[in-house]
Assembly symmetry: C2
Homo-oligomer: 204 residues x 2
DNA sequence: AGATAAACATACCGGTCGGTATACTCGCAG
DNA sequence: CTGCGAGTATACCGACCGGTATGTTTATCT
């Protein structure tokens, strides 16, 4: 289930990555030096460069790990809280996001990383896009399994609301953003269900 | 109309701020040093520190300027393209955003700045929130002037889509995000109009 | 003419950056 | 017992960081 970031991750490498992940997310990529990571991970710069090659390599590993973590978290949350297809399953993703944000109060780590990496040819940039695409396609899949018409478009619309909620919740300092998003997505899904049933009625 | 950033902005100070604004937006806050700003603005570090006090002061001035710029741009765009209240006036804000993004391809400068400033007690943080609140309230105002019920909630929902579109367009590498957002907002406004007319019919 | 502010030029400060080099210890598998 | 991978410790590199100091030139306004 959990994707392994490196074929061989030594215990210290794990500790380094976890420490770096926390610091990168909390303070930003450029704000955190390699020496600080070494100190807080209780290791040395030498070991970091032996394991990850460069600071950019460590940043890439951080993004990879965070990407996998969010996918695993969202998938597990939906499976646990809404095992069956239906409108509530879509909303469960927003609930997963809500509880995720409670522990990740600095917003979307990928958007934040994009702010510092865009324009450079950094290896981590495709991972950022990958995460956005995964979340979008996840919504599309949850709508498709309900046989809702135009699931692709509707899924993209839900993803827009999803991303907007994170921005408004953090940079926008708007605590009700999550509730607004949930209400709006609830209506969007209901519209999709209505469209499906209307079509079924026409056909049958 | 245009808010002056400083009571007295010397010509060189203007040049410094414009140069810094371009560099900060394009490469990030920490990625750009004061010396580079001085070089590209064809001035000296001394003059920068004389005019802005510190790099943080310059960053704050940048955010203030960008905030005012976006407000002026959006307001002027709506006034020019949709002088009268109505559904198209709300969509005109998204059109303004669309043309704004064509020249600002690195996403929302405030979200990007938030990525680097959050957690610090930086003076610029309130300006970031201010911009998000302004855009949200702008939508609320455009809906209110149409006498649409629940304009506050609907305006917040439109703002969610607005912010989501920027993220999907840039970090998400999804070119159709703007069109999706426009279509969705068009339906949200239409729903509002329908709710207004339904209520009017009930009352009248 | 004198005063003032703005900008220029340059050198310097302590500190940190990413990254490298050298040399050592430890545990384990052949 | 030997070789090796992993990790430690520390010193070092050049480059750059934000910020300061000193002094000069230029233009404007009384």
């Amino acid at each position: 289930m959990t994707t392994v970031t490196q074929p061989t991750m030594t215990p210290t490498a794990h500790r380094i990555l976890d420490t770096a992940a926390g610091l990168f997310y909390e303070h930003g990529l450029r704000a955190v030096g390699v020496e600080r990571i070494a100190d807080e991970a209780e290791t040395t710069k030498k070991t970091i460069y032996d394991r990850f090659g460069s600071k950019d390599g460590l940043i890439t590993a951080y993004l990879r790990q965070r990407c996998d973590r969010w996918h695993d978290y969202a998938t597990a949350y939906v499976k646990e809280h809404q095992p069956e297809p239906g409108p509530d399953r879509v909303l469960a993703v927003l609930d997963a996001l809500d509880s995720w944000m409670a522990v990740n109060s600095r917003g979307c780590g990928f958007v934040n990383a994009y702010a510092e990496l865009a324009g450079t040819g950094h290896e981590g940039l495709p991972i950022i896009a990958e995460e956005k695409i995964w979340t979008r396609d996840h919504y599309v899949a949850l709508l498709s399994e309900m046989d809702i018409p135009d699931a692709a478009r509707r899924g993209r619309e839900v993803a827009l609301v999803h991303e907007g909620a994170i921005v408004q919740l953090t940079a926008g300092a708007q605590p009700e953003a999550m509730a607004d998003a949930r209400a709006l997505v609830g209506r969007l899904v209901a519209d999709g269900v209505a469209a499906r049933d209307a079509t079924a009625g026409t056909v049958g």
